[in-house]
C-alpha cells in the first residue's frame, strides 16, 4: 500500500517557522552565544591596503599586552585589503583588540589595481571564438544587429551573522561550533586540521544567521580556532567583525559583458557574440557570468576572462553568475524589442525555450497590469512609470541525505537531519513533510537539525537541502505511518489498509482513535526509522521556472527609483510550507532589488582600502525600499516532488528592474547599481541626443 504526501496539507499549511519563538526571544543560540570555560579569543592581523609591503611592525608591543598568548606575522606582502598577514591569540576580546592595535604595522603602499575596466583585456584583443565565421554568416542575414556593453558591481556577502568558528580540542576528541552552510564539510575540515577522526569531532550549528554561499567549509576562522585550541588545550573562538566580514568573507564578483546579437524581422535571435569579464582576487578564478542564459540566442560564440585585481575573493553567492548575467540579457532583449518596435513580452515569447515560462508570462502580465505599460519614455509628468520582466530556471536533481524519525508512545515525533537550517526553514520543512505523510499533529513534531551527531545531510549550496532531504523525511514518515496503522489494525482486529490517519486521528470502519491513544500502542521505548532512499517521493529531474514582473517609478528630477510592485511567479514543485516558500521568494526579490539599486563595494583608488565596510555606507535595501511582492507558487506538474527554491528567485529581479527603468525613462541604464546619478546622466544624454 502506498500513500501520496497529502498535498492538501502541504499546500495549505501556513504553520509558523518551528523555531520562530526561540529566535524572537533570543533563546536560539548561535555560535557567538557560546562561551565555554577558559575560552581564548583569536583573530587575524590584516593588510588594510590593496597592495602594500610591510615595512615594520611592533610585534613585541602586541606580545607585551597582558593576556596575549601569542602574536605572529607570517606575511610581508599584502595583495588585497583584508588579507591575513598573521594572527593574535589572547585571553580576552579586549586583549585581542589591544594587541591588534599595538602591532602598529607600517606599510609601503603601492598603487593597487582595482578597476576591472582598466585591468581587462580590451575586447579588440580578445581572440575570436572558433565558430566566428558561422556567427558572422548568421549575423549577415539578420534584420537588425544590436551591440552593447553592460556592467555590474561587486556585492559583498556581509552575512547578518558574521563568519565564526569556535573549537574546543580535548585531546582525543573535540567539540566545535560554527556558522556554516555545511555541518559535515565544516566538521570534516576541522577533523583534518586537528588530526582527529571525523567521528571524534562533535559539531554544532543549530542556528545559522544566513549563508548565501560563503560558509561551506571551516574557513580561515575555523582554521585558526582549531590551531589555537589544539596548541593551548583550551577552547578558542575566531569571529569576524563587520568590517572584516566585508573585506574577507567573499563577494559576488563584478562584471563587464559585451553582447552583439542579430535578430530576424520577427525578433528571433539568430546569433550572438558574447564576451564577459569577471573581477576576481589577485589569483584564482570565480568570476564567471551566466550570459547568455535562458533564451535561444541561435549560434553563440562565448568567451570569458577572469581579471585579477587587488580585491577580496569571489565566493559563490546565491545563484553565482546568474543575476548579473540575466540583468544584461534582459536589458539587451528590451533594447532589441524597442528597436524593432516589439512588445517585451512578444520578444520573450519568440525566444524563450520553455513552455512553462510562456504560460507564466501570460499570468504575470495580468497580475502586474501589463496593459498599463506605455512605450519606453512615453509617460507624462515627473514621476515616470515603468514595467519590466525577468526570467530564470533552476535544475532539480536528486541527491543524498539521511533522515531519522522516532515515534514515541506519548505521541511525540522527532525528526532529525544533521543538515543545517541557514534561515530557510529546513526544520519546518522536515516537520511539515512528516505531518503531511504521517498524519501526526504538527505540534507534536519536533525537528532537530545542524549537529554532526544527527544523520548526514547535504551542504546548502545549489538549492539542494530541501529537495535532497524532503523525500527521505516523507519516506520515514510513511514507514512510521505503516507501523502505527499495523498496531491499530491489530488492536481493532481489522486489516491495516482499511485505516487512515489525518490531522492526528486514526479512522477505520466505524471507529476512530486519537493520536495519543494510537501511539500508546507502541510496545517499545519508541519506533525508530532511518531512511536514505528517495522511495516514491522523488520524480525525474525537472527544472523550476521563474518569471518576475516589476512595476516602478522613476522621478526624472531626482533620478530616484522606487519599485512599487513585483509579481514573482515561481515553480517550486510541491510547496511544503506556504510561509517558508513565500519567504524564500520575497527574500530573493529583495536581495535582487538591493543588488540592482543599492549595493556596491567601493575600493579606494588611492590605496585599495574599502570605503564602505559597514552597514550604513554599504547600502542594503531596508523596509521602506521593499515593494509589494505578490508571490505565485506555480504548479506545472500533476504530482511534483519538492524542488529547488533558494536560488532561482534572486536571478530575474535585477534584469526586470533595469528593463522597467528603461521603460520609464526611455533610455537604458546599463550599469548596476542604478543610482540617481546614473539615471540623471542617462536622461541628460538622452536630452542631448533629442
Amino acid at each position: 500500500m502506498t500513500w501520496q504526501p497529502d498535498n492538501r496539507v502541504a499546500l495549505e499549511n501556513d504553520g509558523a517557522r518551528l523555531e520562530i519563538v526561540d529566535k524572537i526571544t533570543g533563546k536560539a543560540k548561535y555560535t557567538t552565544d557560546y562561551y565555554p570555560e577558559g575560552m581564548l579569543w583569536a583573530g587575524y592581523l590584516r593588510c588594510p591596503y590593496g597592495k602594500a609591503r610591510l615595512r615594520g611592525a611592533d610585534i613585541d608591543a602586541a606580545r607585551a599586552i597582558p593576556g596575549v598568548l601569542e602574536a605572529e606575522i607570517t606575511r610581508e606582502e599584502g595583495r588585497y585589503a583584508g588579507e591575513r598577514m598573521g594572527h593574535v591569540c589572547a585571553e580576552s576580546r579586549e586583549a585581542l583588540e589591544r594587541a591588534r592595535r599595538a602591532v602598529a604595522m607600517q606599510w609601503d603602499i603601492e598603487t593597487p589595481s582595482i578597476d576591472l575596466t582598466r585591468a581587462r583585456t580590451p575586447f579588440e584583443e580578445v581572440a575570436d571564438p572558433p565558430n566566428q565565421p558561422r556567427i558572422a554568416r548568421a549575423l549577415g542575414g539578420a534584420t537588425y544587429i544590436h551591440e552593447q556593453e553592460y556592467e555590474t558591481q561587486v556585492q559583498t556577502h556581509t552575512c547578518l551573522e558574521p563568519h565564526i568558528g569556535l573549537v574546543d580540542y580535548r585531546g582525543d576528541h573535540a567539540l566545535a561550533w560554527g556558522s556554516t552552510q555545511g555541518t559535515f564539510s565544516f566538521r570534516n575540515e576541522l577533523a583534518e586540521a586537528l588530526d582527529l577522526s571525523p567521528d571524534a569531532v562533535e559539531f554544532n550549528c543549530e542556528h545559522v544567521g544566513g549563508g548565501f554561499g560563503s560558509k561551506f567549509g571551516m574557513g580561515a576562522e575555523g582554521e585558526l580556532a582549531a590551531r589555537m585550541s589544539k596548541k593551548y588545550g583550551r577552547p578558542c573562538r575566531v569571529g569576524l567583525d563587520r568590517k572584516e566580514e566585508h573585506l574577507d568573507a567573499g563577494l559576488r564578483p563584478g562584471s563587464r559583458q559585451y553582447m552583439r546579437a542579430g535578430v530576424n524581422a520577427e525578433g528571433e535571435l539568430q546569433a550572438a557574440r558574447i564576451h564577459t569579464w569577471g573581477s576576481v582576487g589577485f589569483s584564482g578564478g570565480g568570476g564567471g557570468v551566466s550570459n547568455p542564459g535562458r533564451y535561444r540566442f541561435g549560434i553563440v560564440g562565448k568567451s570569458h576572462e577572469d581579471v585579477h585585481l587587488n580585491s577580496g575573493f569571489p565566493r559563490a553567492m546565491r545563484s553565482p553568475g546568474h543575476p548579473q548575467g540575466m540583468f544584461a540579457v534582459e536589458l539587451f532583449l528590451d533594447e532589441v524589442a524597442a528597436a524593432l518596435d516589439i512588445d517585451p513580452i512578444d520578444i520573450r515569447r519568440a525566444n524563450d525555450r520553455d513552455d512553462v515560462r510562456k504560460a507564466m508570462l501570460d499570468a504575470g502580465a495580468g497580475l502586474i497590469g501589463w496593459e498599463r505599460r506605455q512605450p519606453n519614455g512615453a509617460g507624462a509628468g515627473t514621476l515616470k512609470r515603468g514595467f519590466g520582466i525577468g526570467v530564470a530556471d533552476w535544475m532539480n536533481m536528486p541527491g543524498a541525505a539521511t533522515v531519522d524519525l522516532d515515534l514515541f508512545p506519548n505521541g511525540a515525533v522527532e525528526v532529525r537531519s544533521g543538515a543545517q537550517d541557514i534561515g530557510t526553514g529546513f526544520r519546518t520543512l522536515l516537520a511539515d513533510c512528516v505531518a503531511s505523510v504521517l498524519g501526526a499533529p504538527r505540534d507534536r513534531i519536533k525537528a532537530k537539525v545542524g549537529r554532526s551527531s544527527y544523520p548526514p545531510g547535504p551542504a546548502s549550496g545549489g538549492s539542494v537541502t530541501s529537495r535532497f532531504a524532503a523525500p527521505k523525511a516523507m519516506g520515514a514518515a510513511r514507514r512510521a505511518r505503516e507501523a502505527l496503522l499495523e498496531l491499530v489494525a491489530e488492536e481493532w482486529g481489522v486489516a491495516p489498509d482499511a485505516l487512515d490517519i489525518a490531522g492526528g486521528r486514526v479512522t477505520g470502519p466505524g471507529q476512530t482513535m486519537d493520536w495519543a491513544e494510537a501511539c500508546g500502542l507502541i510496545p517499545e521505548d519508541r519506533l525508530a526509522f532511518r531512511v536514505n532512499d528517495n522511495d516514491e517521493f522523488w520524480r525525474p529531474p525537472t527544472s523550476s521556472q521563474t518569471v518576475q514582473f516589476v512595476e516602478l517609478t522613476v522621478d526624472v528630477e531626482t533620478g530616484i527609483v522606487r519599485v512599487e510592485k513585483v509579481v514573482a511567479l515561481q515553480e517550486v514543485g510541491l510547496p511544503v510550507n506556504r510561509h517558508a516558500c513565500e519567504n524564500q521568494i520575497t527574500g530573493g526579490v529583495i536581495q535582487g532589488l538591493s543588488f540592482a539599486l543599492f549595493e556596491n563595494r567601493l575600493l579606494s583608488r588611492h590605496n585599495g582600502a574599502m570605503l564602505n565596510p559597514n552597514m550604513d555606507m554599504y547600502k542594503i535595501a531596508g523596509p521602506a525600499d521593499v515593494p509589494e511582492i505578490v508571490t505565485v507558487l506555480w504548479r506545472s506538474q500533476e504530482d511534483p516532488a519538492v524542488n529547488s527554491l533558494g536560488e532561482p528567485p534572486v536571478i530575474p529581479t535585477p534584469g526586470a528592474i533595469a528593463c522597467a527603468v528603461y521603460n520609464a525613462i526611455g533610455v537604458p541604464v546599463r550599469s548596476l547599481p542604478i543610482t540617481p546619478d546614473k539615471v540623471l546622466a542617462a536622461l541628460d544624454e538622452k536630452g542631448a541626443q533629442a
Binding site: P48, Y49, A81, E94, E97, R98, R101, K243, G381, T382, L383, E557, T558, G559, I560, R562, L597, F598, L602, S604, R605, H606, N607, A609, M610, L611, N612, P613, N614, D616, M617, K619, A621, G622, P623, A624, D625, T675, P676, D677, L680, A681
Partner: protein
C-alpha cells in the same frame, strides 16, 4: 575600541566638571560608538548626559520653540504641535535614519555628529580632518561629497535637523566651564577653512544644551532626497522657512556646513510662492556650486529639492 572611563552625570554642572582633555560627551551614542569602534576617536572618558534633568524637554509655545539637546528624534516625530507649527524641523527629525535609531538618537547628537565622509570614518586614511596632508575625496570617490563652500576638506555636514533650524533662525544654547552662551544657528557651524578638527564652535568642555526658535515661522518645509528610503543619509536636504514674512533657504548634505542659499533668499524676499518662482529659486540656490568628478548630479538635486520645499511650505505642492 579603547578602554575608557564612563561617567554618568547627574547634573549639567557635574557633566561639565567631568570634562578633561580626553573626554567626550555622550547623548544617544549613535555616532560616538561607531567612531570609537573604528578607532577614529579614542576618548579616555565618556560623560553621559542621559540623567541630566531638563535636557529632553520639548516646549512648543506660541512665542517660540525650546528643545533640549537630549530630546530624541522619535519624541520630536511624535509631537503633534511640532508637526503643525514647525514642519521643516518635524519632517527632518521624523524621517531620519530608522525608527529604532530615532528612539535613541537625540537632537543634540544629530546637530553635533561628525561627518559621514568615508575617508574620515576609516582609519586607513590619514585625511586632512584627522591631521593628515590630503583630502582624498578631491581626486577620489566623491559622489556624496560637497558641491558648495569647498576646500580644503570636502565633507558635507550630515545633520538632518540643522538646515531646518538655520532656516528658522534658531539660537543654540551652549554651556561650558566658562559659563553659558547663545550662538545663532547660522554661526554655530564652522567651515573647514576656519577649523579642520571640528565642525562647530563648541569648545572641548562645552555642551549644546538647548535649541531655541524665538519666532514661529509662518510656513516651513523640508525635502530630503535619498537613494534609499530606509536608513540612508540624504543626498541633498532643502529646508525653507518664512520668518516674519521673509523666506529663508538652507541646504544640507551639500557643504561642510548647513549651507544658506543666499541667492535664493535674495530672489524670494517676501514674495508669495508660485510654481515659477519656486523653480527660479531652485536655480538660484545652485548658484556658486562647484562640483567635483562624481557629484555634479547633486546640483540638479539642489534645484529640485529647493523648488519642492518651497511648494510644500506654501501649500502649492502639485504632484507630478
Amino acid at each position: 575600541m579603547n578602554r575608557f572611563d564612563y561617567d554618568i552625570a547627574e547634573s549639567l554642572d557635574a557633566a561639565i566638571q567631568a570634562q578633561d582633555g580626553g573626554s567626550v560627551y555622550k547623548a544617544g551614542g549613535m555616532d560616538l560608538l561607531d567612531l570609537m569602534k573604528e578607532g577614529v576617536l579614542q576618548p579616555g572618558r565618556v560623560v553621559s548626559l542621559h540623567r541630566v534633568p531638563d535636557l529632553a524637554v520639548i516646549e512648543v509655545r506660541e512665542d517660540g520653540l525650546r528643545i533640549g539637546a537630549l530630546a530624541t528624534l522619535a519624541d520630536l516625530g511624535r509631537n503633534e504641535a511640532l508637526r503643525a507649527r514647525y514642519g521643516a524641523l518635524h519632517t527632518a527629525a521624523a524621517h531620519a535614519a530608522t525608527p529604532q535609531v530615532r528612539e535613541r538618537a537625540t537632537l543634540g547628537g544629530n546637530l553635533c555628529q561628525r561627518p559621514r565622509c568615508w575617508y574620515y570614518r576609516n582609519i586607513e586614511f590619514n585625511c586632512l580632518k584627522k591631521g593628515g596632508g590630503t583630502c582624498y575625496a578631491y581626486d577620489g570617490e566623491n559622489q556624496y561629497h560637497a558641491i558648495f563652500g569647498v576646500g580644503p576638506c570636502y565633507i558635507v555636514h550630515p545633520s538632518n535637523c540643522a538646515p531646518a533650524l538655520v532656516a528658522m533662525d534658531a539660537v543654540f544654547h551652549l554651556q561650558g566651564k566658562n559659563g553659558a552662551r547663545e550662538v545663532p544657528a547660522r554661526d554655530f557651524f564652522v567651515s573647514p577653512r576656519e577649523r579642520l578638527d571640528a565642525e562647530n564652535v563648541l569648545a572641548p568642555d562645552e555642551a549644546l544644551t538647548h535649541v531655541h526658535v524665538p519666532v514661529r515661522p509662518e510656513q516651513s518645509a523640508t525635502i530630503e532626497l535619498r537613494e534609499k528610503q530606509s536608513f540612508d543619509w540624504p543626498l541633498v536636504i532643502a529646508s525653507v522657512a518664512r520668518v516674519q514674512g521673509r523666506w529663508r533657504v538652507c541646504l544640507g548634505a551639500v557643504a561642510p556646513v548647513p549651507w544658506v542659499a543666499e541667492a535664493a533668499e535674495a530672489l524670494l524676499e517676501d514674495k508669495e510662492i508660485t510654481p515659477e518662482l519656486a523653480a527660479e529659486a531652485g536655480e538660484a540656490a545652485a548658484d556658486g556650486a562647484n562640483p567635483m568628478s562624481g557629484n555634479a548630479y547633486k546640483v540638479k538635486l539642489v534645484k529640485t529639492a529647493v523648488k519642492r520645499a518651497l511648494l510644500r511650505a506654501s501649500g502649492e505642492e502639485a504632484r507630478a
